[in-house]
Amino acid sequence: MWNTVFPYLLSGISVGGQYALIAIGYTLVYGILRLINFAHGDVFMVAGIVMVYMAASGLPLWLCIILDLVATSIIGFAIERVAYKPLRTAPRMSIMISAIGVSYTLQNLVLYITGGLNQIYPKIPWISDSIKIGSATTKVVTVVTPILTILLVVALVLLINHTKVGMAMRAVSKDFETSQLMGININGVISVTFVIGSFLAGVGSVLYFTNYTTVIQTSGAMPGLKAFVAAVFGGIGSVPGAVIGAFIIGIAENIIKGLDIILFKAGLTSGPMGLAIFSDAFTFALLIIILAVKPTGLFGEKSIDKV
């Protein structure tokens, strides 16, 4: 039984780590702007595409990764400046629509550049190698992901709690108007938030696409949505919440992928049920349940609307 479940659990933890890195971008941005950045998943996808093209140019891979992360951070920064900043005083629906527009634009741009074909992600040495852990054969990236994720999250939490920028971020997410009055450079803080979020999504993309090996213009949509669900699940605005939510969703999704075999081996079913296709749907069912039962998520704060 354990030998059947273990490989799914392992890849679940790995995917969970990758979702976590994307989810942080959602949760930070939502915390500050109260905006679901629908384009965040596409930034993650663009990071993958940029990497493909950079590697094709013949630069050494380590340099490609660094340049890719820099480029992704700049893209995140630019999106905020172009598409969200002009709408800061507009109704919330306008900014969300703008985010959807950015998502549409990024996907179409990539479709145009790549011709809509799957792009092969460069094979990064060492983390692409296979290793055997217990009953599972997997890539090194599977093991590296959760460790790297935890390290980055710890670094981020330290940054938020112990630096001036972090303090400003916390202040702005607590009370936008007051922080502005207190002389905090709101636009600066928002830019930093987008840069951090995009950078982490960039790291996530390196890990994720090393695992899945191809990138196409729609590659970001599903991981993006799932990472968002993870952020909501954990309580939006909370970084640890997003990370825990992401691991739960990553694991649950992978267990469902193997549920047919697991149930069959456990003697509970007599044949395939075709349950694997529900791995995506489950995430959303989880979302609707958590929103209905505890809209603030696992670690979210309750807020009272003023009349």
Binding site: M96, L225, F278, D280, A292
Partner: protein
């Protein structure tokens, strides 16, 4: 003092009659393969779906992203119940001809599609409509994804044909009247969809201008004030959600007829986004805007901007940038410009009759 039909409304009615008459004449005189008919058919379908979405997003202030899911339900219910019995073994070849062995008239199946979509909307609305704007958006989006998965599930195959295509059901071409030899006598394959869409949109307009429509607009403007006026938020949101989904379902059935085939995997979030962007281009809160934007959007993407996807030569020189996909890039930029700089869209919150209204003789006036 109260006239039944003032001048602006009269002009509007005349324009609409002229459009329908024009379409009828064109259909009888032009080649049925003309691009304009494709645009009109798909435009009519999208117009209905866009207006139904506008009822939620523009008039009630509910930011829902579930439209593709409700269209899917409508499309599936319609096609499942209209595939002729003798064709079922072909369509449901992997499921022994499927479970359902009867057919309905297309009209009933269309309404049933809407009703089932509305029923799903009711059930999903119970937990979801209590949520705040952005959570609601993501929850409805998630719901559409769940629906999409369910309809592809192998175990439901005897009904939904699993992940395989549904086909051989009635299409728009079946509206053409044929003589005994099978030759088309009167072409109606464009006019009828436009009439169906027109009637549905008219019903939505009636709703918007009824006392319930006012209550919905009040909710959009200010939920707390609406509640203080005795408007029960939950039930009114639920009504808007169900009505919108009903018409999205009917629109889905129309899309099925337009496409001639139906497959769950095509009803993606991207489809919802596209419809939302149409609504925004037309103007959140304007039915006229949604209709105009639908036809413009379809015409631009299927017809006018097609040339952007092909290599173009001027005097033997190949123009740069023009190749497959460029149309969508241009499109995206147009949309972003509208979203960022022309937030009112084409119509703002105005309707067609408002355009024929002179500036009011008294000062001020509602025309901004």
């Amino acid at each position: 003092m109260k006239k039944k039909l003032d001048l602006p409304h009269l002009i509007t009615v005349l324009i609409i009659i002229a459009v329908y008459a024009g379409v009828f004449v064109m259909e009888q005189t032009m080649a049925p393969t003309s691009m304009i008919f494709t645009v009109l058919k798909k435009g009519a379908t999208y117009a209905l779906v866009a207006v139904s979405m506008n009822l939620l997003n523009g008039f009630t202030g509910i930011f829902s992203l579930g439209q593709a899911g409700f269209m899917l339900i409508g499309a599936y219910v319609f096609s499942i119940f209209t595939i002729p019995v003798d064709q079922r073994p072909i369509v449901y070849q992997y499921y022994n001809g499927g479970l359902i062995q009867f057919t309905m008239p297309f009209f009933l199946a269309m309404i049933l599609g809407g009703l089932v979509a509305a029923l799903f909307a009711f059930l999903i609305g119970l937990p979801v409509l209590r949520l705040k704007s952005d959570y609601l958006a993501i929850a409805t989006l998630g719901f559409a994804e769940i629906i999409r998965t369910f309809f592809q599930w192998d175990k439901l195959g005897p009904i939904t044909n699993g992940s395989n295509m549904l086909r051989l059901f009635p299409t728009f071409n079946d509206f053409n009247i044929r003589n005994a030899n099978g030759e088309v006598v009167v072409y109606l394959s464009t006019l009828v969809p436009m009439i169906i869409s027109g009637i549905c949109i008219a019903i939505i307009l009636l709703l918007i201008n009824s006392t319930y429509g006012r209550a919905m607009r009040a909710i959009k403007d200010d939920e707390i004030a609406a509640e203080a006026m005795g408007i029960h938020l939950a039930s009114h949101k639920q009504m808007a959600f169900c009505v919108s989904s009903f018409f999205a379902g009917v629109g889905g059935a129309m899309l099925a007829m337009y496409q001639t085939t139906v497959q769950a995997k095509s009803f993606t979030t991207a489809m919802t986004y596209e419809i939302l962007l149409i609504v925004v281009i037309g103007g959140l809160g304007s039915v006229t805007g949604s209709v105009l934007a639908s036809f413009l959007f379809v015409a631009a993407s299927e017809w006018w901007l097609r040339f952007l996807d092909q290599k173009q030569y001027i005097g033997g020189h190949e123009l740069p940038l023009m190749r497959n996909g460029f149309r969508l890039v241009v499109f995206s930029f147009i949309i972003m410009i509208v979203v960022l700089f022309f937030r009112q869209g084409i119509m703002g919150t105005k309707e067609l009759p408002d355009l024929f209204r002179r500036k009011k003789t008294t000062e001020g006036g509602s025309a901004k």
